[in-house]
Subunit: 335 residues, 2 copies
DNA sequence: ACATTTATTGTAATCGATTACATTGAGAAT
DNA sequence: ATTCTCAATGTAATCGATTACAATAAATGT
């Protein structure tokens, strides 16, 4: 391995001078710098980052913990994060929690071990106290998910209002018996979307039949199973607001399997606008989150925290958008 | 920050002893070790990995470069990699090339900078020579994609034979006018699947109409557009082998848009068996790759390389599987 | 001509662990 | 009693950079 000392020897200068050339300190005479540069090239020298990092005590690496890397929603956010990271000379250390809280928590120890300068969490299922303590000592930003009433820097959409919007869209299409298959209620976005649903219903004077609200698991199968349950009811819903797109697609598949047509016999709104939402048939009406932007914003905030700059505020709510496609239809009064 | 010296002072021993306790060297008296452990706990000491890494000159980190992190095929492989990595105390540094060769190459410099102990490439689009040189100096394993005739350690399926198998399935259903929409031919798997297609056709004495073979881009849109092209032909194909599932789905969408039914009027086989293949309608008949296993195997190989162990061989071909679902049907002679 | 500043470079401490080598003391062997 | 082993621990070098401080030379001011 070529060391800085080797370069120094070849260029007939001290290691300090070489280091100055590398870091562009500007206090090196032009001719000396050229000699050094030449030696670097000649020896094909690359600085050992470990040594630099130890000395500067910074890793130029950030840790990103995702709940599920195989979910394209999260990988899209990740891409936003990485784009800003790379731009600023940072690398991304990946932690895929596989929807497991414990492994999520395990990744956090990497911060204390100085394997990363900061942390972006795309999942907020760890104990809130642990994370708030961690955030005292290290730069931490949450994205997508968040803790209620916490001051932790967060980038997300307003899930409650988005859910309200989605539900109101169904209401505007004359639906009254609207069901909701939620995500897990121990996950904040599952909870908030459920809340938004209830708020919209209440605000429009519609009662919610408790048997038409079921807690699912953010998966296709879960959507399928719970919709089957709805369909076996005496009086099934005419519309459904699903906690995410997978749930929505599962539900639609269930409806079709029972011979119902979507949207003619059942209207469905999803959430997230994952890639397949537009390819699915019927193309899914859903709430789009600005995934890439959220990732970028989160990384920009983290960068500020790392540089010890003040944040103008802690909670950043980005705009969502209801994407109307083909999975909903106005209810014609014929029953 | 708590250093090893702080622990040493509190426990009234030297830093060497503390270090020995931490690394479980076994040459420390039981009582001393207990004292040290207590101090560690008391001070909440965590070793600084940067220092350890510099001294041991190993990072316990591996670099994984993927062509496109938002493609669930690759994230599934990544998951396999990470599972074995974590098990062995390694972390994964992620490089998302975003289908760009240049940024793919850029990530490789991280190895020389000692930011990772080894590299797994899920993409082989960089100049072959560069990579082979790199592989002289650092542990490198390829997965999914590979270089033809290269000795680089590789884990993949046999794309040619898989493509043959897929095509033969269509032939077994009596199809004769079979089209192929390939992936980019500068990507080895695109090329090999195309080859397999031609081989199968030739082996069964079927001629390939050149206008029925088109090079696409591994995307839904590409599949859609090229299928539209096929459909505007005087004599369109009765069956299609697509270079991957996205292409297949795009093609099916195109066929449907023209009023054709799949599989009644057109049979389609895809490749990869991504998550959505089974949810898509019609559920896609496709070649499944053992994504998780490939990832695990690749990581196990890399671990061996890192430990300087011999590999029993260089090329590992894992078994694929044709998953028959609903997108193909026997051609009844009626035309 | 002398003092003072400034530009350039070098020397050596430092980051925080690991580990080669040295030291100590207790028990075993003669 | 003396020497030898061996277990347990300590001292200090080391990994490869960065950087505070020192030193030198050149330039400038009076």
């Amino acid at each position: 391995m070529v060391r800085i000392a080797d370069v120094a020897k070849m260029a007939n200068v001290s290691t300090a001078t070489v280091s100055r050339v590398i870091s562009n300190a500007g206090t090196v005479k032009k001719e000396t710098a050229e000699k050094v540069l030449e030696a670097i090239k000649e020896l094909n020298y690359q600085p050992n980052m470990l040594a630099r990092q130890l000395r500067r005590s910074e890793t130029k690496t950030i840790l990103v913990v995702v709940p599920d890397i195989t979910n394209t929603f999260f990988s899209a956010v990740l891409r936003g994060i990485e784009s800003v990271a790379i731009e600023n000379g940072y690398q991304v250390l990946l932690g895929d929690a596989r929807n497991d809280v414990e492994s999520e928590t395990t990744f956090l120890t990497l911060l204390g071990q100085k394997k990363a300068d900061g942390l972006i969490l795309l999942t907020a299922r760890t104990n809130q106290k642990i994370l708030e303590d961690l955030s005292q000592d290290y730069p931490v930003v949450l994205a997508c998910e968040y803790y209620e009433g916490s001051k932790l820097p967060t980038v997300s959409i307003d899930n409650i209002s988005s859910a309200r919007k989605a539900t109101e869209y169904l209401i505007s299409l004359n639906h009254k018996r609207i069901g909701h298959i939620s995500g897990p209620l121990n996950i904040v976005v599952g909870r908030d979307r459920c809340r938004g649903f209830h708020q919209a219903m209440a605000q429009h004077g519609l009662s919610v039949d408790p048997s038409l609200v079921q807690e699912g698991e953010f998966s296709f199968e879960s959507g399928f199973n719970l919709m089957m349950k709805f369909l076996s009811l005496e009086n099934p819903p005419t519309a459904l607001f699903a906690g995410n797109d997978e749930l929505a697609m599962g539900a639609i598949k269930a409806a079709k399997s029972k011979g119902l047509r979507v949207p003619e016999d059942l209207s469905v709104v999803g959430f997230d606008d994952i890639q397949f939402a537009s390819i699915f048939e019927p193309a899914l009406t859903t709430v789009a989150q600005p995934t890439f932007d959220m990732g970028q914003k989160a990384m920009r905030l983290l960068l500020k925290l790392i540089k010890d700059e003040e944040l103008e505020k802690d909670q950043f709510i980005l705009p969502d958008k209801l994407i109307v496609r083909e999975s909903c239809k106005e209810l014609t009064i014929e029953e």
